[in-house]
């Protein structure tokens, strides 16, 4: 579809001068807009024109043309303002809201203050019909929303039928049920790849997938309709560039995690819970389904779709994961996706992408880890919030018409998700690099913990796309923990005890929720240890610390047991935690004991036989490391190891070996499940054998 768009742009750019020879000779009136071009996109038309010196804004007029060319009543459908785009020298406006397939004529005029200047010469064009050839099976599928011209949103059963029909007609698409709502509606996901999607979640994870969460608030349905259309495009497009991208990755589209809320037209789910305040706590089956999907399919990038009520904001408010526990690289890359890509591409295509919370005094877009944007960031996923401005507002004065309003929102979301796919394809190396850094830096458990508080987002250099940057939202002192613990210890009751939060009959234990996030837990004699030396370190205290703002349970903070130098052999029984330590001598971890090592230097072999768990991150080990028959997790992340390294006979949980440099051999055998690296490769100079041959 990208090359098709490009071709259309070239034609349209050349068209006006050729199409209207009579007007070429006419002298331009003073301050008359010149050089108007109209380029058709999916559900929108990009108008571009030459800037008029001194203009304070521009009005965009659209007139429907009947089949015989008779014009209807002209309507001012848009107002271009300087805060609309980051590049004011080449003004553009994405006109949208019209029913696809209609023929129109457009004109643009400048205003100086409130004084209107002459209109440009008109340019006419036929807008694109609903995507897909009506005569080609599969392509001719339409959603209820398309079929009713926006009068109705796509119902739950229509979504199921439509997505099943796409699955049936396209090898590229597999619809999987990732969970059920409180009222037992299926929560489906479209898994899309070319020529077909990988068969298992593990195989999908290996393709650097991207995800779109389309509808968490049931009364904000605009993004969901875009997702359903995009799924059809990806399933049936013949565009070689799109297929090229789709051949290298997997697109994960979750149309409706809140099917109950969508059916009831409520923000919350059927219990009234706002699901976008539940992505860390996962009290609800809907959020748990999404958390398990993220754990199993491991998207590296995401978008989360919403609608927003402020009429004065841009078309497309966006925001990165801002929580200060999110790895810097994940934040930076998310910002690059928004400011580096969406703002620039928005300026080209005429959509007004802007920072969420961009009106002065706004108090939205903060650091709650319960919000998917932040939760995903804490899970090392580059991502953004997307809002669709609910009403037309002053810049789209023709949206009192509900269908116009709904179409503008949905096609602006379709534009965004399509651009997201392109950004992902063009930046997959950078995205995976920051993911790798996120996994290793979080596993290092280094630096302070912030319970709530955001990274600052500077105002975009003028002309900035909005009125103001998002609120600062810095952490207050009582929300900062300078010395991170080594781990949290939960009692049996805390870990497995019955909970009262969540809907009756669907309640889950802390153990189940921790498992849904995919955290590593060590069973010890007096409870359960959750070490911070793992990839979602920034999220763990937000749920398990007594100081957390919306915690799950107040676990006991376990402080490091050794931070200095130890000369001679070290034998570990019970739980030992080495942080920034130097050990000169062999370490022996006894049966049933747990060792957690972060930021340390060990000169001597490390041997763990029948241990409860072994965590070594951000450390240097001169000497062999052997974990044999470990009953719980083995986590080796971001280390420099002389080797040899051997992990064998592990039980219950997959050993994690990621981002290590191993000078010698790496051997794994007899672990069930087999070791993983979460796609973060190890550098092994010696031979890699057995279950670790691919790590």
């Amino acid at each position: 579809m990208f090359s098709a768009l490009l071709a259309a742009a070239l034609v349209a750019t050349a068209a006006p001068a050729l199409a209207q020879p009579g007007t070429v000779a006419q002298a331009a009136e003073p301050n008359q807009v010149q050089g108007l071009t109209v380029t058709q996109g999916d559900g929108f038309a990009t108008l571009a024109w030459t800037r008029v010196e001194g203009a304070s804004d521009y009005q965009i007029e659209r007139t429907a043309l009947a089949a015989d060319g008779t014009p209807g009543t002209p309507v001012v459908v848009g107002v271009w303002r300087p805060n609309r785009q980051v590049n004011n020298t080449e003004p553009t406006f994405a006109d949208a809201g019209f029913a696809p397939g209609g023929r129109f004529q457009w004109r643009v005029r400048a205003r100086f203050g409130t004084t209107e200047q002459p209109y440009s010469t008109p340019v006419d064009g036929t807008t694109r019909s609903h995507w897909g050839d009506p005569g080609t099976p599969g392509e001719n599928l339409r959603t209820q929303w398309e079929q009713t011209l926006g009068a109705q949103y796509t119902s739950d059963v229509n979504e199921y039928a439509y997505t099943a029909a796409i699955d049936e007609a396209s090898d590229r698409v597999r619809v999987v049920e990732i969970g059920r709502t409180v009222q037992e509606r299926p929560i489906n996901m479209l898994v899309i790849g070319y020529p077909k999607p990988p068969a298992t979640p593990e195989a999908v994870a290996a393709t650097n997938p991207l995800m779109v969460n389309c509808n968490v608030h049931g009364n904000e349905p605009g993004d969901r309709e875009a997702c359903l259309i995009m799924a059809r495009q990806l399933a049936f497009t013949k565009d070689s560039q799109t297929l090229g991208l789709l051949g290298k990755t997997t697109v994960l589209i979750v149309p409706t995690i809140n099917g109950d809320g969508r059916a009831a037209n409520t923000r919350g789910n059927s219990t009234g819970q706002d699901l976008n305040r539940d992505h860390s706590l996962i009290r609800q089956p809907e959020t748990r389904a999404l958390a398990e999907m993220v754990r199993d399919y491991r998207p590296i990038a995401g978008y989360d779709g919403h609608e927003y009520g402020n009429t004065n904001t841009g078309d497309l408010p966006m925001l990165p994961p801002r929580h200060q526990n999110v790895a810097q690289g994940i934040f930076d890359q998310s910002q690059d996706m928004i400011e580096g890509h969406m703002y620039g591409r928005g300026a080209e295509d005429g959509w007004w992408a802007c920072p969420y919370g961009c009106t002065p005094g706004a108090n939205v877009g903060l650091s709650e880890e319960t919000i998917l944007r932040n939760t995903l960031g804490l899970k090392n996923v580059v991502n953004s919030l997307l809002e669709l401005r609910s009403s037309g507002g002053p810049t789209r004065p023709d949206e009192g018409n509900t269908a116009n309003n709904r179409r503008r929102k949905t096609y602006s979301a379709l534009w965004t998700f399509t651009e997201f796919f392109k950004y992902h394809g063009a930046n997959v190396k950078d995205i995976t690099r920051v993911r790798d850094e996120g996994v290793t830096s979080q596993s290092a458990n280094d630096g302070r913990i912030v319970f709530r508080g955001s990274r600052k987002i500077e105002a975009y250099p003028a002309p900035h796309p909005g009125e103001a940057p998002p609120p600062v939202d810095a952490p207050t002192p009582d929300r900062i923990l300078e010395q991170a613990p080594c781990a949290y210890r939960l009692t049996e009751e805390q870990y497995h005890g019955e909970r009262t939060d969540g809907p009756a009959g669907k309640r889950t234990t802390v153990a189940q929720r921790i498992a849904a996030h995919g955290w590593k837990v060590v069973k010890v004699a007096d409870g359960y240890l959750v070490p911070l030396a793992q990839p979602q370190r920034g999220l763990i205290p937000l749920l398990l610390d007594g100081q957390a703002v919306e915690g799950l349970v107040a676990g006991e903070r376990i402080a490091p047991t050794l931070t200095g130098t130890h000369n001679g052999p070290l034998t570990v029984s019970g739980v030992a935690c080495l942080d920034g330590a130097t050990v000169r001598g062999p370490i022996q971890v006894r049966s049933g004991a747990a060792l957690i090592v972060t930021g340390s230097s060990i000169n001597g072999p490390v041997n763990a036989a029948d241990a409860a768990g072994l965590f070594v991150t951000d450390s240097r080990v001169s000497g062999p490391v052997h974990a044999t028959g470990t009953r719980g997790p083995v986590v080796l992340v971001g280390n420099e190891l002389s080797g040899p390294v051997g992990v064998s006979g592990g039980k219950a949980t997959a050993p994690l070996l990621a981002g290590n440099t191993v000078a010698g051999p790496l051997t794994c055998s007899g672990n069930a499940p087999a070791p993983t690296n979460l796609e973060v490769a190890n550098t092994v100079r010696g031979p890699k054998t057995g279950q670790c041959a691919q790590l």
Binding site: P134, S155, T266, I371, N401
Partner: protein
């Protein structure tokens, strides 16, 4: 439980044959497939965008009517004539809150009561101007008794046109409230508060008047802070 799919509206004149073909296939899949044959969706949509004049049996009046489906478009007044009231509501795009409230309270049958009914249906904007999102969620999900009373503040026995309401001077709602009715342009003003913004949709045994304010006396909560995002 999934809700049932509302079937397509009755055809407008421009695409009657096409829509009859679609209706004949029945079931949810019918809505999926683009109309094929000589037309194709683009042609159908363009035809739909053109008003077909006032000959339609469903003449509606009010300032909002121009912004709602008309002519041969799905959800046009003509297409809703004779549809069960609860179904007609699902086709008027500014009534998503009211329509959801009818389903939440299980009042579809009450709307189709013998003897006819006048439905004064507030727009989504009216609901949002009255209630916070949290309050709406509460009404729709847990406080359905209150919601049912609220809906009955908007129901009047007998299918009456706006002109008949004005002529009556006052009406009593099914909640027992008496509303004074005065003329407001071509429509009606109710209880000195709400006006009809698109009056006189004809459903089966019912008149639907879209109004711009929520009636009844529930506390105004729209100013309470709502969460976004």
């Amino acid at each position: 439980m999934p809700d049932t799919l509302v079937p397509g509206p009755r055809p407008g004149p421009a695409s009657r044959a096409a829509r009859r073909r679609r209706a004949a296939t029945g079931a949810a899949l019918a809505l999926l497939l683009a109309v094929t044959g000589c037309g194709g969706p683009a042609e159908e949509e363009r035809a739909g965008a053109q008003p077909t004049g006032s000959a339609a049996p469903g003449a509606v009046a009010g300032p909002l009517c121009d912004a709602l489906p008309s002519g041969a478009e799905p959800g046009s007044p003509a297409s809703l004539v004779g549809r069960p009231p609860a179904e007609a509501l699902a086709w008027i795009p500014v009534l998503t809150m009211f329509e959801a409230a009818v389903r939440a309270t299980g009042m579809a049958e009450e709307l189709a009561a013998a003897g006819g009914l006048t439905i004064l249906a507030p727009t989504d904007d009216a609901f949002r101007a009255t209630f916070s999102t949290a309050n709406l969620d509460r009404l729709l999900l847990s406080d359905t008794e209150t919601l049912r009373r609220l809906l009955r503040e908007h129901l009047v026995d007998g299918a009456r046109s706006a002109a008949e309401l004005v002529a009556a001077g006052s009406v009593t709602t099914r909640a027992g409230t008496t509303l004074t009715v005065t003329a407001a342009g071509s429509g009606a003003r109710l209880a000195d508060k709400a006006v009809t913004v698109c009056a006189d949709y004809r459903a089966a045994g019912a008149r639907v008047h879209v109004i711009d304010k929520v009636l009844g006396d529930l506390p105004h909560t729209a100013d309470e802070e709502d969460q976004h995002h």
